[in-house]
Symmetry: C2
C-alpha cells in the first residue's frame, strides 16, 4: 500500500528526530491520520488501541526503581540518537547504569518500523478469538498491509495456545495478561513482533524465541534423565 505520507503536526520536543506522517492510503479523502486502522478499537476498546500505540512506538516501562531507570516509556526512535545528541534533549545516558542503557538501546527502532509494528499488532488483534469484527475499510487496509485476516485463529507466539481477545481486559496489578512479544527481543519490526501471554513472555525473558525453545528442551531432557519429574 502507498501511504499518504503528509507530515503530521505534533508538538513533541522530539519532532525533529522523526517526522510523523499520515498513514492513510495515498489519495484518501478527509483528514490525515497516523493510526487510521485503530479507529474501531479506539471507540470500542480504547485501552487496547492505546496499548498497540504504546507498545509499537515506546520503549518499555521501567519496572525497576525510578532513580536508575532513565527515561521511562520514551519514543523508540529517540533511542537511535547518540549519547551526545540525547544530552541536548536533557537525557544523560552516561548517568544510567550500563544494563539500563543496553535495555533502552535494545528497544530502539525507526519511525517506519514502529508504524509497521502498530499495523501488525492491530492485524494480529483482530485475529484473536473473541475479537470484535473490524469494519470493512479497516479490514481492507490491514489485509493490504499485512495479509489475509483469519478471524479467531490467533495464538500466543510463545506457547501457541489460542490467545483470547478477552485477556486484554484482565489485568493484575496494572499488568496486562497479554504482552507484546518479540521473537528476537532486540528487533522491533513486524516480522518479529506478536502477542503472547504475559507468563509466556516473562518465561522467554531476554532470549530469542528459538533460544527459549532450546533452553526448555534442555531442561526437560535433564529433568527426565535425572528423574526429577514425579
Amino acid at each position: 500500500m502507498q501511504f499518504c505520507g503528509n507530515p503530521l503536526d505534533t508538538r513533541s520536543k522530539y519532532a525533529a528526530i522523526a517526522q510523523r506522517r499520515c498513514q492513510r492510503e495515498q489519495g484518501h479523502t478527509g483528514p490525515c491520520g497516523e493510526f487510521p486502522y485503530l479507529r474501531d478499537l479506539e471507540s470500542s476498546h480504547p485501552a487496547v488501541a492505546a496499548k498497540i500505540k504504546r507498545d509499537s512506538t515506546m520503549t518499555t516501562g521501567a519496572s525497576w526503581s525510578s532513580k536508575d531507570a532513565g527515561p521511562n516509556r520514551i519514543l523508540r526512535w529517540v533511542m537511535l540518537l547518540s549519547d551526545d545528541e540525547l544530552l541536548a534533549y536533557g537525557i544523560d545516558m552516561m548517568k544510567l547504569k550500563p544494563q539500563v542503557v543496553a535495555k533502552l538501546r535494545d528497544k530502539a527502532a525507526t519511525y517506519d518500523e514502529c508504524m509497521a509494528v502498530a499495523r501488525q499488532l492491530t492485524w494480529a488483534t483482530y485475529q484473536m478469538p473473541n475479537a470484535p469484527t473490524p469494519s470493512s475499510d479497516v479490514r481492507v487496509y490491514l489485509e493490504e498491509c499485512c495479509g489475509p485476516l483469519t478471524l479467531g485463529k490467533a495464538c500466543c507466539s510463545v506457547c501457541r495456545l489460542p490467545l483470547s481477545f478477552d485477556l486484554f481486559a484482565e489485568a493484575r496489578r496494572g499488568k496486562a495478561a497479554i504482552e507484546t512479544s518479540h521473537m528476537d527481543p532486540r528487533k522491533h519490526d513486524p516480522a518479529n513482533v506478536a502477542f503472547a501471554h504475559r507468563e509466556c513472555n516473562i518465561a522467554q525473558g531476554p532470549m530469542t524465541l528459538n533460544q527459549f525453545y532450546d533452553w526448555i528442551q534442555g531442561i526437560l531432557e535433564r529433568a527426565e534423565r535425572i528423574g526429577g519429574r514425579s
Copy 2:
C-alpha cells in the same frame, strides 16, 4: 538431631506468635543461637547468610507498588494469624487487594518449618560448585540434619544445570542471580525448597515444578507441530 530449644530473647513485636528457640544441639556448651550452622558464612559471605535467613523466615519482598503491597518482608509465621489477629498488630488484610492477600497467605509457614528450611538452604549452599568448605562442626551439624554433603554437586532445582556459589555475588538491579525456589510455591518446607537460577525461578512462576515441566513440554510439542521452530 535433638535441639537445645531454649527460648531466645527477641524484642520483636511478634514474639508472642512464635517463640524463637536455640537451634544448637542439645547439651551444647557456650551461648545459645538460632542459626549456629551459618557461623562460617556470616563471616566469609555475610550477604549469603543474610539471604538464607531472610528467604527462610520472611515473605517475599513486594515487587509491586508499595501502596497496595501490604507488609513487605514480614515473618512467615505472622501470616498464619487470622485477619482479626493481624489487625491487633496493625496489619489490615481487608485493605489489601485479594491477590496480595493470597500471595502473602501462600508464604505462611510455621517457625519450625522456617528453621528447617534455613538448615536445608545452608546444606544446599555448601554443595554448590565453588562454595567454601564448611568447618567440621558445621558440616557435622548439617549432615545430621539434612544428610550427606556432596561438595560441588548442587544443581538448579529447575533447569538441573550446576549452580555455582559465585552467582550469589552477581546481582542486577539489586536482584540476586540465585533465588530460593519452591517445587510447590505454596509450601515452605525443606522437602520443597531449593536454589534456582533467577531466570529459571521466574519462568516457573506460580506453577509447581511439575506443572512447569508439563507446560514447557506442551509448548515444545506445539512449536514442533506448527513448525514454528526455525
